[in-house]
């Protein structure tokens, strides 16, 4: 099916060809007042739509020669003779007046029986109003014309006479309409556009792909009954480590894994009761001298767990589902799989139903909602949960199981010193890993490169 929609250029060319069925591109320029480039493109489009034929043809082009131009100005020699005869008849006068053209003019006039001549006199006999050749002469005028635009008989006389008409053979493109184009009704298509044509890409303004994943995950947590809590990225070691039963000499607390703020120790870290109980739990279970100055050292949080545990220690709820989401930091070498700063989400559940199978059930539901159904659980170890599990999800693209969120039940050594008496389920992990699955990325750094080409084109694949 042809689309009945034409560009303005196409319309003008079709209209012109309807009036004048075979034209050179140059002619079309004149008749349509389009630029050579527009004509070239228009012809190309019409050809593709099978609406125009382009014939490479040889065309005879005629223009006036020296004698032709003189005749255009003064009339053909025979016309001048016939005009003179209206007032004069003496042969010698005529000869004098017309000069060298008298002979040929006289010859033609006599041959055509327009005059009668004696030895001295010439008289008009029965001349036609328009002489042969006169029409062509006028038509050609100052132009170059294809012979086909002229009357063949009328031109032929001129062609035989010297220097009247110059003829040249040109190779030319000749454009004509195909039969289907001849029957087109241009008016019916007016107002429409070519809806099938290719269009340029528009640069999109959008939410950052990682932010989009974060929003999606936040929404899932909320719909699972969790409320969002906020907390600082800068935290005392007390909440980031001590409150979570990580001993002060634990390797994770070393400079090479954790970012410590240079020269900043927190003045106030917790209530005296909390400090006392937490330090006692450390001394008893880990057998070392707990140092409050170590707990005062400020760090960039290494997980969002410090935010949730602080919340639980303050609120001590009997029943709760809360989550915290945000940036966490690790002193790592940046690589395709490690960033110094990434996003983590952590949810906790307090209540009657807080048991391991329910925790696994929440995980399964969460993964289902982000589109991951192939999951399994493996035991693992975290210093602050017991039992502890990790979720493994199957990555179709990589063809293997990859580790996602970790989960567990807060150890009594964590909850008891802070006055939390109920079981607390905790689970969470890095969001970039999920976003990488969603956007088919192999290099996590892409999320923070702000490469416009990627931001403008990134598409979700899962």
């Amino acid at each position: 099916m042809l689309s009945q929609v034409f560009h303005d250029i196409e319309k003008k060319i079709i209209a012109s060809l309807k009036d004048n069925p075979k034209q050179t591109p140059e002619n079309l320029e004149k008749s349509t007042k389009l630029s050579p480039d527009q004509i070239r493109r228009g012809i190309e489009w019409l050809k593709l739509k099978e609406l125009a034929n382009v014939d490479e043809s040889k065309t005879s082009i005629v223009s006036l020669g020296k004698n032709g131009k003189e005749s255009l100005e003064k009339g053909l020699p025979e016309r001048r003779l016939l005009d003179l005869l209206k007032t004069k008849s003496k042969l010698s006068d005529l000869q004098k007046e017309l000069g060298p053209v008298f002979g040929p003019a006289m010859g033609l006039a006599r041959k055509n029986n327009w005059v009668e001549a004696t030895a001295d006199n010439v008289t008009l006999k029965n001349p036609p109003d328009v002489l042969p050749g006169e029409k062509s002469l006028k038509q050609i005028g100052e132009q170059k014309l294809s012979v086909e635009q002229l009357e063949k008989d009328d031109l032929s006389g001129l062609l035989r006479r010297p220097y009247f008409v110059v003829e040249e053979v040109l190779k030319a493109k000749e454009i004509s309409l195909t039969d289907s184009a001849k029957s087109l009704n241009l008016d019916a298509s007016s107002g429409g556009i070519d809806v099938e044509a290719a269009v340029p890409a528009t640069n999109v303004a959008r939410t950052h792909p990682l932010k989009d994943t974060i929003d999606e995950i936040r929404e899932i947590f909320v719909t699972l009954g969790f409320s969002e809590i906020y907390g600082n990225m800068t935290q005392s070691s007390f909440w980031n480590f001590d409150a979570l039963f990580t001993p002060q000499d634990h390797p994770a607390r070393e400079l090479q894994d954790t970012f410590y703020l240079d020269g900043i120790s927190a003045k106030k870290i917790a209530t005296p009761e909390q400090i006392k109980k937490v330090s006692e739990s450390h001394k008893k279970n880990w057998r070392y001298q707990w140092d409050i100055n170590e707990a005062r050292k400020m760090v960039l949080r290494t997980h969002t767990t410090c935010v949730t545990i602080k919340h639980l220690a303050e609120a001590k709820p009997d029943e709760a589902r809360v989550f915290s989401l945000g940036r966490v930091f690790r002193n790592e070498k940046v690589s395709y799989k490690h960033l110094v700063e990434f996003n983590q989400i952590e949810g906790v559940v307090v209540g009657k139903d807080a048991n391991l199978r329910n925790l696994m059930g929440i995980q399964r539901e969460f993964y289902k909602r982000i589109g991951i159904t192939k999951i399994k659980f493996w035991p693992t170890f975290f210093p602050y949960t017991e039992p502890s599990l990790q979720t493994m999800v199957y990555n179709d693209r990589l063809g293997k199981w990859v580790e996602l969120f970790g989960m567990g039940i807060f150890r009594p050594e964590v909850t008891k010193p802070l006055g939390i008496t109920k079981h607390v389920l905790a689970w969470g992990g890095g969001i970039e890993r999920i976003a990488m699955l969603k956007y088919g990325l192999d290099d996590v750094r892409e999320f923070y490169n702000n490469n416009l080409n990627w931001l403008r084109s990134a598409t979700k694949c899962q």
Binding site: G225, F226, I229, T234, L261, A266, K268, E319, F381
Partner: protein
């Protein structure tokens, strides 16, 4: 996480009655992650709380339990011997007060076993030994040592030939010229006296926690071993010894005791502990309804002993399982023995109503407005560099909050502004098509105690016709649409902005940020070829409302 390399075939031999596939499939359910596999070789990541998994002997013990081949606690059989003793002198109290040890006889030691024991020793040193600070091990050829031994101190001039060295060195030279000396010498820095274990001939056996003597080096010809552990805490030293003893027994050695006395030291008992757990805690925590016998069989699969006592269950925990602090740890042992794969996830309906933080909602709404205005959302790190934050942005630092020992030069200080990061983003995109319009909302930090964390909002527009009117109009629309706030602008000067094209942004009479054309010097330095306009305002004080 520490990693141990071992082979399936030797695991199979140790476990007995298990196929390679069975072993590979079960490893994760012991809490062991397969890091990589190459035919028979497998690299396994284990948790630092289970140092017994640092050798194939330990993993085989766990696997036998899980597969039901051998269950119940591993019993240490230690023959009481009076042949071996260490007497401790009081002068060690100030530097490294405790020593403990054991003898292991008639084992087969090949290259592979030596390699495994060395790897185990290093993992123990690093993990529970806290880089040898808390406790450290020396493993020696028993037959090169004349008992009884003395644990005492000496000055730094004392000479002996240390392991891996062809010549005699003084203690001072060992600390200054050898790799181990440099790495661990600090542990002794507070003392002029150096701890030493000497044998009956006053020959040095060990210089803990630094190095053994060369003479007691364990080789493939060694049949009998002497293991000593020193440390700053008796219990920690005995914990470490219990792991080594358990592994050596599993490797086929017969254990014999070493008598230790003097200066608050005593012979190690490496005794089992008893701990009571109630079935209701187990079932409540796991969401199961297991009867007593199923609980007991699950605990036995986790290589513990267990028996019913009234309504409760009493567990017998071998010494090497010092990772078990209390009943909740036993709950996990039940879960592991029961099989994590046998726990069916359940979903109980939420008793609570979920709620997005109102601040998140407001930020989301602001983002949507900016996107509607044609701006693309960017994300930059909070940790950035002096170059991006100050040098390139032509800004003067006030108080810089920096982190210690960052491994990345690009991430050394916390940002106090978002705009410089967006300028850096433009510079990385000069080959992309214009207009380029970016915005970001995020946390900015300023010094204080506690450190101040505020939410900031910045936008930037770069193209041939970018101008002040355009960016003011964008900010005006964003704040009007999202927050029904009117902004005013008042001439100001800021080094990041072009003089005469820069204004304070004022809401309700309060300056909350700055807007204007970016200083042409910055644009030039970043090789950006179009004008850039931008703004940054603080959202925390007057704009975002929390509940």
């Amino acid at each position: 996480m520490p990693v141990v390399e071992l082979s399936y075939s030797s695991l199979q031999k140790l476990i007995g009655k298990a196929s390679k596939k069975q072993i590979a499939d079960s490893l994760p359910f012991l809490g062991l992650d397969i890091e990589s596999e190459d035919k028979d070789l497998v690299r396994i990541e284990y948790s630092p709380n289970r140092p017994d998994y640092s050798t194939d002997f330990g993993i085989a013990l766990g696997m036998q339990g899980l597969l039901g081949i051998k269950t119940g606690a591993v019993k240490l059989k230690i023959k009481k011997s009076k042949q071996y003793s260490i007497s401790v002198k009081p002068d060690v109290a100030k530097v490294r007060p405790f020593v403990t040890g054991i003898v292991a006889k008639n084992g087969k030691i090949d290259d592979k076993t030596i390699k495994q024991l060395m790897a185990m020793q290093e993992d123990l040193h690093f993990g529970i030994g806290r880089k040898r600070k808390k406790s450290s091990i020396g493993i020696h050829d028993l037959d090169k040592i004349q008992f009884p031994l003395v644990y005492t101190t000496s000055d730094r001039k004392h000479k002996f030939t240390p392991l891996n060295s062809g010549k005699e060195l003084s203690i001072d030279e060992i600390l200054k010229t050898t790799e181990v000396g440099e790495d661990y010498g600090d542990l002794l820095a507070n003392s002029s006296k150096m701890p030493l274990i000497l044998d009956a001939n006053k020959e040095i056996v060990s210089f803990p926690p630094i190095i053994n003597a060369a003479v007691t080096t364990v080789t493939t010809k060694t049949k009998n071993l002497f293991v000593e552990v020193t440390g700053i805490n008796k219990d920690d030293a005995e914990d470490m010894l219990s792991v080594v003893a358990t592994i050596l027994q599993s490797a086929g050695f017969s254990l014999e005791s070493v008598q230790i006395s003097g200066a608050k030291n005593s012979t190690p008992k490496l005794a089992e502990r008893k701990m009571t757990v109630s079935p209701s805690l187990i079932n409540q925590t796991l969401g199961l309804n297991l009867n007593t016998s199923k609980i007991i069989s699950s605990l036995k699969k986790s290589r513990l002993d267990a028996s019913a006592k009234g309504k409760n269950i009493v567990c017998v925990i071998p010494a090497y399982r010092f990772d078990i602090f209390g009943p909740m740890d036993l709950v996990e042992e039940v879960a592991l023995g029961y099989g994590i794969q046998n726990l069916e996830p359940t979903l109980s309906p939420s008793q609570t109503l979920g709620q997005t933080n109102p601040v998140s909602l407001q930020l989301k709404s602001l983002s949507q407005t900016m996107i509607g205005l044609g701006y693309l959302e960017a994300l930059n790190s909070s940790l950035t560099s002096i170059r991006v934050l100050y040098e390139m942005a032509n800004r003067e630092p006030k108080t810089i909050i920096s982190v210690r020992d960052s491994k990345s030069q690009e991430h050394t200080i916390l940002r106090d502004s978002i705009l410089p990061g967006l300028l850096e983003n433009l510079s990385k995109n000069i080959h992309e098509s214009y207009p380029q319009k970016l915005f970001e909302t995020g946390t900015v930090f300023s010094s204080g105690n506690p450190v101040s964390e505020k939410t900031s909002f910045s936008g930037i527009s770069a193209h041939q016709d970018a101008n002040f009117t355009e960016i003011k109009s964008v900010l005006q629309s964003a704040l009007k649409t999202g927050f029904d706030l009117e902004i005013k602008t008042k001439t100001t000067e800021q080094p990041s902005f072009e003089k005469g094209h820069c204004a304070d942004v004022i809401i309700n009479g309060k300056t909350i940020g700055v807007i204007g054309e970016i200083n042409s010097k910055i644009i030039e330095n970043y090789k950006i070829r179009v004008p850039v306009v931008g703004f940054e305002i603080s959202l925390s004080e007057s704009i975002l409302k929390s509940l």
